[in-house]
C-alpha cells in the first residue's frame, strides 16, 4: 500500500460509494437517493417542518403578531393566554384580557384572566408597520383585531414583550447561523478535504496534520476563547458573522475527513481513471465526477452539522459569550429564561427552547434519513 493510503485507513471506515457517475439510460444517483429518501417518512416530515420553519423565519415580520422590540410594561411577565375557538357557540377566535396586581413588598406582578374583556383575534389583521423585501406593510398573518390589545400567545417577558413573536423573529439569526456556518464549513471542508484526498501524497500529509492540529484545540474552550476575543467594538452584524465563523471553524474538519476518505477511494475507481486517461483536467474531474459521486454523503454530513451550530449558539449565549441584546436570537432569548426567577414565576420564557429542540430534532431526523438514503448498501 502506498503511503498516502496508509493514512487513509486511519480514518473511521466509511463505506465507499460504488455507484458510478450519472449515466445514461438508467436512474441517476441523485434520483436513486431521492427515491430512497422518500421512503423515510420521519425524514420527510422533518423536511416539511424545516421548510415551514425557514419560511416563517424569512417572513417573520408578517407572521409574528408584533415586532421584536414592541413592549408594554403593563404586561410584564404576563402568562400565556388561552385561545378560545368558539364564541357563544359560533366560530370566532378570541382571548381574554388580563387583570394585574403588584405586590407592594415583593414587587411581584400577579395576573388573573379578565373574562369581562374579550380580545377578538383574526387573520390578516392590521398592526405594527414593517418592511419586508422592501415592501412596507402593516398586515400580519394573525393577531388581535384591535391594534394595541394585549396578545401573548406564549406569555410576556420582563418588559412585556411577546415571547412568541420574538421567538419567530429570533429564528432568522439562529437558523441562519446554522446554514451560514455549514456553508462555510462546506466550502472549507470540501475544498481542503477534496484537495487532500485527490492529490494525496505530501499535500495530504500536511493537510492531515493541520486538521489534527485544529481538532487538537478542544472545542468548548476554543469557542469560549475565540468568542471572548471578538472585539467588543464590533457591530451586531459583525459579531454574528464572527460567531458563525467560530462555530464553523470546528465543523469543517470533520467534513474534510469525510470528503477526503471518499475521494481517496473514488480516485481508484474506474470512471476516474477513465476520465484521467481521456485527458480531463484534475479540477474538472473533481467538480464533474468526484463531487457528484459523494454528494449524498456530503449533504447528509452537512445536515447533521447544522444542529450542532444552532445548539452552539445557544450555549455561547448561556456562557455570556454569544450575541448580546438588542440582537434577537434563540440564545439571547433563552438568556432571559435561564435563571431561577424565570423558572419559578415565568417558565414560558423557555418557549424559545422548544423551538430549538424542534428545529434541531428535525435536522437530525432529516440528516439521518439522508444518510440512510445515500448509503449504497441500503437495499
Amino acid at each position: 500500500m502506498r503511503k498516502a493510503d496508509r493514512v487513509a485507513t486511519m480514518t473511521p471506515p466509511v463505506p465507499s460509494a460504488s455507484a458510478g457517475p450519472p449515466g445514461d439510460g438508467q436512474a441517476s444517483q441523485r434520483r436513486l437517493i431521492w427515491r430512497r429518501f422518500r421512503r423515510h417518512r420521519v425524514a420527510m416530515v422533518s423536511l416539511c417542518v424545516l421548510a415551514v420553519a425557514y419560511l416563517v423565519a424569512i417572513l417573520s415580520p408578517f407572521v409574528a403578531p408584533s415586532s421584536a422590540g414592541a413592549y408594554d410594561a403593563d404586561y410584564a411577565y404576563a402568562p400565556p393566554q388561552r385561545v378560545h375557538v368558539l364564541d357563544d357557540g359560533r366560530l370566532g377566535l378570541y382571548v381574554y384580557g388580563y387583570r394585574s396586581d403588584t405586590d407592594p413588598v415583593s414587587l411581584a406582578r400577579t395576573f388573573t384572566v379578565d373574562e369581562s374583556r374579550k380580545i377578538p383575534l383574526g387573520f390578516f389583521v392590521r398592526g405594527e408597520p414593517y418592511s419586508l423585501f422592501g415592501f412596507e406593510s402593516d398586515v400580519h398573518l394573525f393577531g388581535p383585531q384591535r391594534v394595541g390589545d394585549p396578545f401573548y400567545l406564549t406569555g410576556a417577558n420582563s418588559q412585556g414583550q411577546d415571547v412568541f413573536s420574538r421567538t419567530l423573529h429570533a429564528a432568522r439569526i439562529s437558523m441562519s447561523v446554522g446554514l451560514v456556518g455549514v456553508f462555510l464549513s462546506f466550502v472549507l471542508g470540501v475544498l481542503i478535504g477534496g484537495v487532500s484526498g485527490f492529490f494525496a501524497g505530501r499535500v495530504d500529509t500536511v493537510i492531515q496534520r493541520l486538521i489534527e492540529f485544529i481538532i487538537a484545540v478542544p472545542a468548548i474552550p476554543l469557542w469560549m476563547g475565540l468568542s471572548a476575543a471578538l472585539p467588543p467594538g464590533w457591530s451586531t452584524l459583525q459579531i454574528y458573522f464572527g460567531i458563525t465563523i467560530i462555530l464553523s471553524l470546528i465543523g469543517w474538519t470533520g467534513l474534510a475527513r469525510v470528503v477526503r476518505g471518499q475521494f481517496l477511494s473514488l480516485r481508484e475507481e474506474e470512471f476516474t481513471v477513465a476520465a484521467r486517461l481521456d485527458g480531463v483536467g484534475r479540477l474538472r474531474i473533481i467538480v464533474r465526477h468526484l463531487l457528484p459521486s459523494c454528494a449524498g454523503y456530503i449533504i447528509a454530513a452537512l445536515t447533521l452539522a447544522i444542529p450542532g451550530m444552532i445548539l452552539g449558539e445557544t450555549t455561547l449565549s448561556f456562557l455570556g459569550l454569544g450575541m448580546q441584546p438588542p440582537a434577537v436570537s434563540w440564545g439571547v432569548l433563552l438568556q432571559e429564561g435561564q435563571n431561577l426567577r424565570a423558572l419559578s414565576s415565568a417558565p414560558w420564557l423557555l418557549f424559545p427552547g422548544l423551538a430549538v429542540v424542534l428545529v434541531v430534532l428535525a435536522f437530525n431526523f432529516l440528516g439521518d434519513g439522508l444518510r440512510d438514503a445515500a448509503d449504497p448498501y441500503e437495499r
Binding site: 496508509r6 486511519m10 471506515p13 487538537a216 469560549m224 471572548a228 476575543a229 471578538l230 450555549t315 456562557l319
Partner: protein, 328 residues
C-alpha cells in the same frame, strides 16, 4: 507498528509548539488586560484606587512586550511551571489540581453511565432495526441530542427544587456540609450529583447510540456477515465476533478525546449546578483576562487532546488488522 508510533510521537513536538502559540494568541486577542478587569470591578463599586492599580501593573509585568511575555510563559512551562493566576494569586497548577479530582470523577461517572447505556442499546437498535424498541430508543436519543445541555440542567434543577423540595446546587446539602463522613453524607452526595451526571450523559449517550447503530448497520449489510451466517455461526457469535468489533471503529477513533473531556470539567453543567470543577475556572479566567490561567489551561487541554488522538489511533490500529498490517 513501532516506527509508526515513533513517527507520531515526533509529530507531537511541532504540534505542541504550534498549540502553545495559538493558546497564547487566543488569550491575547481581546483588547485590554487583566488590569482593566480590576479597574472595572472597582468602578462598579464606585471608587477606583489608582495606587493599587499601579502596584498591580508593576507586579504582573503587563507593561512588557508581548513576545517577552510569551517567552517567559513558555519558558516556565518547560520547567513544569504554568505561571501564576492574577485573579487567584496562586500557581495555575495548584488551582487546576485542586479542582481536577471532582472534574474527573463527574466526567468519568457520566462516561461509564453513557457506555453502559449506549452499547447495549446501540447494538439492539441495529439488530432489531425498525422494531418498536428501535423507534423508541431512536426517538429518546434524538430528543436527548436536541435539548441544549443547560436547558436540560435547569429543567432538572427546577423540578428537583419545586416538586421534591431538594436543595439544588453544590455537592452537599447545607446540613451535611460540615458533617463528618457517614452514610447520610454519601447518600446526600449521591442525591446531589446524579443530576449533573444525567445531564452530561444524556447527549453523549444519544450520540453514541446513533453512531453505533449506523456503523453496525453498515457492517451487517456486508457480504462477510452472510458468509458467516451461511457457515452456521450462532447469531450472537456472528454479531460479536466481527460486526460489533468493526463498528467500534468510529467509537475508538474518538475515545481518546475522553482524556481532555475528563479534565475540562463540563463547563455548562458545572455552572448550572454550581460545581467546583475546572470548567467554570476556565470561563472565569477567560472573562477576566487572567492570561496565564486561561492560556495554560487551554494548552493543557490541547495537549491532552493530541495525546488522546494518538491513543485513539493506536487503539484503532490494534483493533483493525488492516491498519496494523498496512503499517508493517
Amino acid at each position: 507498528m513501532g516506527r509508526y508510533v515513533l513517527r507520531r510521537l515526533l509529530y507531537l513536538i511541532p504540534t505542541i509548539f504550534l498549540i502553545s502559540a495559538v493558546s497564547f494568541l487566543i488569550i491575547q486577542l481581546p483588547p485590554g488586560s487583566y488590569l482593566d478587569t480590576v479597574i472595572a470591578e472597582m468602578a462598579a463599586e464606585g471608587r477606583v484606587d489608582e495606587t493599587r492599580i499601579a502596584v498591580l501593573e508593576q507586579r504582573y509585568g503587563l507593561d512588557e512586550p508581548l513576545h517577552v511575555q510569551y517567552l517567559t510563559w513558555i519558558g516556565g512551562m518547560l520547567h513544569g511551571d504554568f505561571g501564576e493566576s492574577f485573579l487567584w494569586n496562586a500557581p495555575v497548577s495548584e488551582l487546576i489540581g485542586s479542582r481536577l479530582l471532582l472534574s474527573v470523577a463527574i466526567s468519568l461517572c457520566a462516561l461509564l453511565v453513557t457506555w453502559m447505556l449506549a452499547f447495549p442499546i446501540g447494538i439492539y437498535s441495529a439488530v432489531r432495526r425498525y422494531s418498536f424498541g428501535d423507534y423508541a430508543f431512536t426517538m429518546v436519543g434524538f430528543v436527548g441530542l436536541a435539548v441544549p445541555e443547560f436547558l436540560l440542567g435547569l429543567g432538572l434543577a427546577y423540578v428537583a427544587f419545586t416538586w421534591f423540595g431538594q436543595d439544588v446546587g453544590g455537592l452537599f446539602s447545607p446540613e451535611f456540609q460540615d458533617s463528618a463522613w457517614n452514610l447520610g453524607k454519601v447518600l446526600d452526595l449521591l442525591s446531589n450529583v446524579w443530576m449533573p451526571i444525567v445531564v452530561v450523559g444524556a447527549a453523549g449517550t444519544a450520540a453514541l447510540i446513533r453512531t453505533l447503530r449506523s456503523t453496525l448497520l453498515d457492517e451487517l449489510a456486508k457480504p462477510y456477515v452472510d458468509t458467516a451466517r451461511a457457515k452456521g455461526l450462532t447469531e450472537r457469535r456472528l454479531l460479536l465476533k466481527y460486526p460489533v468489533r468493526m463498528a467500534l471503529g468510529p467509537f475508538l477513533s474518538t475515545v481518546g478525546w475522553v482524556l481532555p473531556a475528563l479534565v475540562s470539567g463540563e463547563v455548562v453543567v458545572s455552572i448550572v449546578f454550581n460545581l467546583p470543577t475546572t470548567g467554570p475556572l476556565l470561563l472565569q479566567a477567560l472573562k477576566a483576562q487572567d492570561m496565564y490561567l486561561a492560556g495554560s489551561f487551554i494548552m493543557i487541554l490541547s495537549l491532552l487532546t493530541v495525546l488522546g488522538t494518538l491513543l485513539s489511533d493506536l487503539l484503532l490500529a490494534w483493533s483493525d488488522p488492516r491498519i496494523r498490517y498496512g503499517n508493517r
